[in-house]
């Protein structure tokens, strides 16, 4: 079980800020594939990965980052702080 979080327009497209996901995905990319297959709103949110960033257990990560032992994955657009 994973906590999956969404921020900014990813959150708006998915329609919720977080959810618990039952998954055996080995990497972030696998998890994205699973989510995309669920519903159109997921397919839409994840249609262009180059416009997205991911954090694994609250650290910036890559699409091929492993999910073993991970509790929390977050998807969001490039950050615009400052």
């Amino acid at each position: 079980m994973l906590d999956v979080l969404y921020f900014a327009w990813v959150r708006e497209r998915i329609g919720e800020p977080r959810e618990r996901v039952e998954t055996g995905a080995a990497t972030v990319a696998d998890l994205v594939d699973e989510l995309r297959a669920r519903e159109d709103r997921y397919a839409l949110a994840f249609s262009d990965l180059s416009a997205l960033r991911v954090a694994v257990d609250q650290e910036l990560a890559e699409w091929d980052s492993p999910l073993q032992g991970v509790r929390e994955v977050a998807f969001f657009p490039p950050m615009t702080g400052g």
Binding site: F7, A8, R11, F76, P77, P78, T80, G81, G82
Partner: protein, 144 residues
């Protein structure tokens, strides 16, 4: 080193009182980011990632402290609703010499722009829009 993420406004004078006072500080640099009314912007909403934000900024600040001879470093970043003229965030650096204080403040700003988990949504005459990250902000990281 002090990092704070808050919805409340902050006062520059109050925050700087005693800042870096323990070191033999000769130079303090501050940067303050302010909401602009560009394009008729009426308000802004800043979203952040509560579990990650402070940690991510502390990592950036620790990197600044290790790369430059800083006596102290401070980052305050707001989230929530803001209007033009509001202060969004500030950084402050204290060092013996001005070059280190300036460079470290610029480094902090460049990294906060692209590596701290904040997202800005702007509300204006044409509705609401998420601010897009700029290529130039990502490129700015390559100089460090």
């Amino acid at each position: 080193m002090r990092v704070r993420v808050q919805s409340e406004p902050f006062d520059l004078g109050v925050e700087l009182a005693g800042f870096g006072a323990e070191g033999d500080v000769g130079a303090q640099v501050t940067f303050t980011g302010i909401v602009r009314a560009t394009g008729g912007l009426t308000r802004m909403e800043i979203e952040h990632y509560p579990g990650m934000t402070v940690k991510a900024i502390e990592k950036i600040a620790a990197e600044a402290m290790s790369r430059w001879a800083l006596d102290d470093c401070l980052v305050i970043h707001r989230y929530g609703p803001l209007v033009p003229g509001d202060r969004i965030m500030m950084v402050a650096t204290a060092s013996r010499h001005r070059a280190a204080a300036f460079e470290a403040a610029e480094f902090l700003m460049d990294y906060l722009k692209s590596r701290a988990p904040f997202w800005k949504k702007e509300y204006g005459p044409d509705g609401a829009e998420w601010v897009a990250a700029k290529d130039e902000d990502e490129d700015a990281l390559s100089r460090w």
